[in-house]
């Protein structure tokens, strides 16, 4: 296994990238980081700066203008990193799907490594997802999408979003 990936799985610094979510996923994410669930047991800590981040927790959808900012942020994360979509919104948009600020699901223009379904997912579900991602990374079944070849996708989508805005 790759040394960088091995080191990554032992010390995950989490950054919370909230879109315009309904706030339930945000609350569940904070719940998962409370002493009750004690994620520091697995070396997981919450950080405030995106430069310190290893995992981005994306919740909610982004409208057209916010999508550009989200991609700018994504380009600032030091590699290798992971992106986790929390809740159903980053995948499908769920209840925001027919609203006036709906553009398209964040999974169309962000390279999301894993989705945690639920509306909202329980802290147990988030922890279980993180454990599965870590196991996948260690066994080599999962390669962070930021390290894969399809890197051009994000830039292309960003210009598309900018054109339509």
């Amino acid at each position: 296994m790759n040394g960088a990936i091995n080191a990554l799985t032992r010390s995950l610094n989490v950054f919370h990238l909230g879109g315009s979510a309904c706030n339930n996923c945000d609350i569940e994410i904070l719940d998962a980081l409370t002493p009750r669930y004690d994620l520091e047991r697995f070396g997981i800590t919450l950080v405030g700066s995106i430069r310190h981040a290893d995992v981005l927790l994306v919740s909610g959808i982004f409208n057209r203008k916010a999508a550009i900012r989200a991609q700018e942020l994504l380009a600032q994360v030091p590699k290798p990193y992971l992106v986790l979509g929390i809740g159903g919104c980053p995948c499908t948009g769920l209840m925001f799907r027919d609203s006036y600020n709906w553009d398209r699901p964040p999974s169309d223009y962000m390279q999301i490594d894993a989705f945690v379904p639920g509306c909202p997912p329980k802290p147990e579900a988030i922890i279980s997802a993180v454990v599965k991602v870590v196991e996948g990374l260690r066994s080599g079944a999962l390669v962070p999408r930021c390290l894969q070849e399809s890197g051009g996708m994000v830039e292309k989508a960003a210009t598309e979003v900018a054109d339509t805005a």
């Binding site: 960088a4 080191a7 032992r10 010390s11 004690d38 520091e40 070396g43 405030g48 430069r51 030091p78």
Partner: protein
């Protein structure tokens, strides 16, 4: 030949490698005790080492338009400063005769380097939040350096010498009233020098989102974290040398054990203060250090001079 030995001492023992390992173990103790205070299990034993290893593998992002050279050199400054400081301290502890006159002054200057590194790095990164954190670091340093230097004067007055070796072999200053007062001043200044709660406003995670270190990633960030861990180890050692001199020097394992226990008590006091107090504002911190703490420090120096 002698130059090679000094280089070896700087890089291995008691310099970089030894201080880094000891510092990371101390930061594990810090995190574990914090976890126990909050009634959780806490991080695994080697977690600080994993954190540093991961950061060494990460990409280094450089902010656009920042002073790149200074931005990348600043972490080295702090690391070199704390390594040299620890080396001088441990050479004294291993052999009280091996030091030079005035090494305490050199030590005080070297221990300023980590804070200086954070300042330069934050101002070089061209980030408004980082420069806010950097300016708070400047103010905090101006605040705590005065009482700290005054308190360090007390053991010097007691031993009538400014050589660390003489401080170590003389009677422990803490057995006198002025020594106790100076020790209390030093403990509060240590908290600020390590920039941990209640004096962590340069990094203030909730308002400045990482503050001074906001733009750092990868190996430079690892260096800053290592510097902080090494400071957490070195500052209590300095206090033990300054205030418990006679108790921890001498042949045999008994003084070494007492020294270790005293060091651990000082670290524990730091961790308990960190876990039981909220962060104060920068103006409150300056008022605290220039007001009561400086007055107590001046009182301690006067008492020491009068022979108490």
């Amino acid at each position: 030949m002698k130059g090679n030995m000094v280089l070896l001492e700087f890089l291995l023992f008691p310099g970089l490698l030894f201080t880094a390992v000891a510092g990371l173990l101390t930061s594990w103790v810090d995190r574990k005790v914090t976890a126990l205070v909050q009634m959780r299990v806490g991080p695994p034993f080697l977690q600080p080492f994993h954190d540093i290893r991961k950061l060494l593998y990460k990409e280094t992002c450089v902010p656009e338009g920042g002073a790149i050279g200074l931005f990348l050199l600043a972490p080295l400054l702090g690391l070199a400063g704390v390594t040299l400081a620890s080396m001088i301290l441990w050479r004294t502890l291993l052999n009280a005769e091996a030091t030079f006159v005035g090494d305490l002054i050199v030590l005080v200057y070297l221990l300023v380097m980590p804070a200086l590194g954070v300042m330069l790095g934050s101002f070089a990164s061209r980030n408004p939040l980082a420069s806010l954190g950097g300016s708070r670091e400047v103010k905090l340093m101006i605040a705590y350096e005065l009482p700290l230097v005054l308190a360090i004067l007390v053991p010097v007055v007691h031993a009538n010498s400014i050589r660390l070796g003489d401080l170590l072999t003389g009677q422990a200053p803490v057995t006198s009233l002025s020594g106790v007062l100076a020790l209390l001043v030093c403990i509060s200044c240590m908290q600020a020098k390590l920039t941990i709660v209640p004096f962590d406003m340069p990094e203030a995670e909730t308002e400045l989102t990482g503050g001074a270190l906001i733009e750092y990633s990868g190996p430079p960030l690892a260096m800053f974290k290592l510097t902080r861990a090494m400071m957490l180890f070195t500052m209590p050692v300095l206090l033990v040398v300054l205030f418990f001199g006679g108790l921890v020097s001498g042949p045999g394992w008994w003084p070494a054990l007492i020294g270790f226990l005293l060091w651990f008590v000082l670290v524990a006091i730091t961790i308990v203060i960190r876990n039981t107090t909220p962060r104060v504002r920068i103006d409150q911190a300056v008022r605290f250090f220039w007001g009561p703490v400086s007055i107590v420090a001046a009182l301690a120096v006067t008492l020491a001079w009068l022979g108490f």
